[in-house]
Amino acid sequence: MDRRQLVKLLALSTALPTMPAELLAAFREIHAGLPTDYALRALSPHQDATVATLADLIIPATDTPGAKDVRVNRFIDRIVADWYSDEDRARFLKGVADVDARTQDLFQKNFVDASSAQQSEILRALGEEMAQVTAALAAAPRGYRGSPPLPKDNFYFMFRQLTLTGYFTSEAGFTLQLHEEIVPGRFDGCVPDASSIQRKGA
């Protein structure tokens, strides 16, 4: 079975959310078939491992692949190398280093070596700080647009933006997790079908 056929089968499968372990294994195998010679451009191997671990905590593998499975870290490396401004790149890399510094302070080890409970504690702290920045922005006087500005300079916000984008725009994220189709073939304006919604993200 080639990759296209498999993805199609998975997308059409009504057996979800209980995806057969066999299929899931096959899926991961296929992803393992992604080019292995990817050369990091912006991140060091250690930064890459930190990024992959962080991303996978936010979007872990469940009955669908997680951030690490779809190589969100490669997407992040590309964005940091080719898309970010010099300023944003420096801010991002400083943020990655800071994740280790926080873990060292609290647990005397690097983030990738911490237990998952310890890693979760770091993530909660990052989230609290992001929420404080967001609240401060919301309290500040607003411009012509009603919606409050987003904390674009906050490392964790930047990281989450790239992680979610990288995941949900991946083939697995789009097809298996969101159950989206490139060519739906029809438009139904009003589908009162709770089960088909529950299927999404199940």
Binding site: R78, P184, C190
Partner: protein, 563 residues
């Protein structure tokens, strides 16, 4: 100068939405027609990119930011200029223009076969006599030389070919088209529609957008498959464009010669015959200078490009621009003012969703200055609208993580409803373009300096869009209503028009009631340049009807030997 051997009966400059129509009409009426297009050819199978999945895009839809900043800093401001289709927009580095420092103008252009008809928004609305008589009633600028009755049969004619889906409403200010079946509103749009009916009666209504996208097979083109991003192309030819419809029809006659890579420099005017006799072309690739001759010229290069060609065609007699005895060429530049509106959350309907990507919006037709005169401003606006459920992006600023976060953020979020207006822009002599002698494009052709700013009436309309939108959302039971007024400069609605206006009097207008130059009988301009006022609806349908009508008239004149 090399002369070409082929004899043409007509030359059309531009292959966009009006050039495509001129090509189809003139060839169908028996004229051997040369269409000159500055850009490259477009082959749907090769060039359309609507089904490229996000995971095959290096930047996953975030676009090649640095390349765009370098090559297309202006074009990339347009929503339709995306990661896969930036090639449908010009490189700003090759196409410079200037503005007053305090008056920015965004000039969005596409140079390829099909022009901007490949990336257009497809919303298609008829004008009414409320629009055609507005200047006369209010004593603004000059009167239109035509009325709705002059154009109505031509709207019928082009709609029959294009295929426009929509709903009949019977509104005098927005005449119904010959519609294909409408696309559906979604649940929340239907709910808002009935709330508006309850609160505003027939004054403010919500309807499905009238769009040049097929809801059923039509004249050899397939029905829409609802993939969504029409501005990247359409392999099933389901939306109207020159490439998808008019140019193939012209080709079928055997009388079309389409020459891509043909950048028009200027027209050649013969002062003895008082006719345009030829066109100077620079081969876009080789830079070779060429000339082509014909007895009839349709200039359809887009409002500002057509005006630029006429300025660059100045002669001793027409020293301020060809066909410019009126002095109005380049003046009265208009663009719809947009960016006033409001957004809100509609509670409920969590167990309903929509399936497929509808390439269309909902629409509230103009309701200001229709029956009662508004005390604050002239004219009006239409509101584009729509409801949708939030997606995974709402998870970015969220602090959640882990399996449960992954599950919930993948489910559709709350329903949001947005209204966003497009308002009429008054014609104003002091909004104008001229040749900037200090700027040439990559082919050495002098470019434009654009002087354009919205006035008080436009700003008042935009403010009212936002207030009325908030009022309507409130009537529909929305929560967290956020009114907005974006500060987009003119040009950004990409409805620039008016720089070669139609009128009855040769002293105050460039074109007559048939889009024919008052000064030069074999010269027709049928793109947005011809507009005497701007209306508030998306203008392309009107340009197309005017083009078909002008072609019919030109061929009649030709047959009678009056050209």
């Amino acid at each position: 100068m090399p002369q070409t051997q082929t004899k043409f009966d007509a030359i059309v400059i531009g292959s966009g939405i009006t050039g495509g129509w001129a090509a189809k009409e003139l060839t169908k009426k028996g004229l051997r027609t040369l269409v000159l297009e500055a850009g490259r050819p477009i082959v749907p199978e090769k060039d359309y990119v609507e089904h490229v999945p996000s995971w095959d895009m290096p930047f996953r839809g975030m676009r090649d930011r640095k390349k765009l900043l370098r090559d297309q800093p202006i074009q990339s401001l347009c929503y339709a200029c995306e990661e896969t289709n930036a090639q449908f927009f010009v490189k700003d580095t090759e196409h410079p223009y200037s503005t007053d420092p305090s008056k920015p103008f965004r000039w969005i252009r596409g140079r390829q076969v099909g022009g901007r008809s490949i990336t257009w928004g497809r919303q298609s609305y008829r004008w009414s006599d409320l629009d055609f008589t507005a200047n006369l009633r209010e004593g603004i600028a000059i009167d239109w030389p035509i009325r709705y009755a002059d154009l109505a049969p031509w709207y019928d004619y082009v709609e029959d070919f294009i295929g426009i889906s929509g709903e009949c409403l019977g509104l005098p200010q927005l005449p119904d088209s010959k519609f294909l079946p409408p696309m559906q509103l979604n649940c929340v749009e239907l709910a808002v529609k009935s709330s508006l009916a309850k609160h505003f009666g027939s004054e403010r209504v919500l309807t499905i957008g009238r769009t040049a996208v097929l809801t059923q097979a039509h004249r050899g083109r397939a029905a829409c498959h609802y993939c969504g991003p029409c501005h990247r192309g359409c392999i099933t030819l389901s939306y109207f464009s020159s490439v998808n419809a008019t140019l193939p029809a012209a080709e079928k006659t055997g009388r079309l010669t389409l020459r891509p890579f043909s950048t028009v420099h200027s027209l050649i005017f013969d002062s003895n015959s008082r006719r345009v006799t030829g066109v100077r072309v620079i081969d876009t690739e080789t830079r070779a200078a060429l000339e082509f001759q014909a007895p009839l010229f349709f200039v359809c290069a887009s409002s500002l490009e057509s005006t630029r060609i006429l300025f660059n065609s100045a002669t001793p007699e027409f020293s301020s621009g060809l066909a410019n005895s009126s002095g109005e060429l380049g003046h009265n530049l208009m663009d719809h003012i947009k960016g006033g509106g409001a957004t809100g959350t509609i509670p409920g309907y969590e167990d309903h969703h929509s399936f497929g990507n509808r390439p269309n919006i909902a629409y509230t037709p103009r309701f200001r200055n229709v029956k009662e005169k508004h005390p604050g401003f002239l004219r009006g606006y239409g509101l584009q609208a729509g409801a949708g459920r939030q997606g995974w992006k709402r998870g970015v600023a969220n602090v959640g993580f882990g399996a449960e976060f992954k599950r919930t953020i993948s489910l559709p979020g709350p329903w949001q409803f947005t209204f966003s207006g497009y308002g009429e822009c008054l014609p104003n002599h002091s909004n104008f373009v001229e040749i900037d002698k200090t700027i040439v494009d990559a082919w050495g052709i002098p470019s434009l300096k654009i002087h354009c700013a919205f006035g008080e009436n436009e700003f008042d309309l935009r403010k009212d869009m936002s207030l009325a939108a908030a009022e309507m959302l409130s009537a529909a039971g929305a929560r967290s209503i956020e009114p907005f007024t974006d500060d987009d400069p003119p040009g950004f609605s990409i409805h620039e028009m008016g720089t070669a206006r139609m009128g009855r009097d040769p002293k105050t207008s460039v074109l007559n009631a048939w889009n024919q130059s008052h000064d030069i009988k074999n010269l027709f301009i049928t793109d947005g340049g011809c507009m005497t006022s701007s209306g508030c609806v998306n203008p392309s349908l009107t340009y197309m009807a005017l083009t078909a009508r002008a072609c019919d008239h030109a061929v009649q004149l030709m047959k009678r030997g009056e050209l």
